[in-house]
Symmetry: C2
Subunit: 127 residues, 2 copies
Amino acid sequence: MDALLEAVKFNEKGLVGVIIQDYESKQVLMMAWMNRQALELTISEKRAWYFSRSRNKLWLKGETSGNIQKVRSIRLDCDGDAILLEVDQIGGACHTGYRSCFYRIEESGAWKEDGEKVFDADAVYKK
Amino acid sequence: MDALLEAVKFNEKGLVGVIIQDYESKQVLMMAWMNRQALELTISEKRAWYFSRSRNKLWLKGETSGNIQKVRSIRLDCDGDAILLEVDQIGGACHTGYRSCFYRIEESGAWKEDGEKVFDADAVYKK
């Protein structure tokens, strides 16, 4: 495990960027950040843990919403500063209720929403 | 175009993270960074432009190698700080000669190479 972690280039904040992709559909679901501990937990538990930059703490994806990510593979890029997870995503990845966080697509110089809503964010997060 | 750019949250260095995915296979090819000008060029030319943090300059992907990325779609995530491109990738995306930069996969706590080499990096970059 030490050699594995040594190949990862955490940035000046101790974080590495993570791309999360659906294992079956290959849809890109979200981008997040991990610190060393989040990566260790993700490897050992095969559930996705991240580091929340806004809340400044470790975060088990799906802890509040139940939308857990079961990890199927973990990849590292050529220069060691980006990780790619393939996951089985329960429910939706996005806190807005969309399946993917990338629900806006560029059309003629503007963003248009075209994503798939899979849960009611207000109900899930008790807003 | 101004409203489109306003929705993008560039970080303290003026950059936004970009995930690049193959349009046909949906394979994630690389992660890179764009500044505002790179995003404007990418939208107008439908070829991927990035900002190189190591060389501190704009960078047309494929300028040296010929491995241009023709852009098929541009997506923005929920909080505006990550972009997803779908591209037609000529040759390989990775400077090492692999099709994807994510050619290392975790197996039993170590990284194992399993990617597909599609060009000779030494020949292409005249090392």
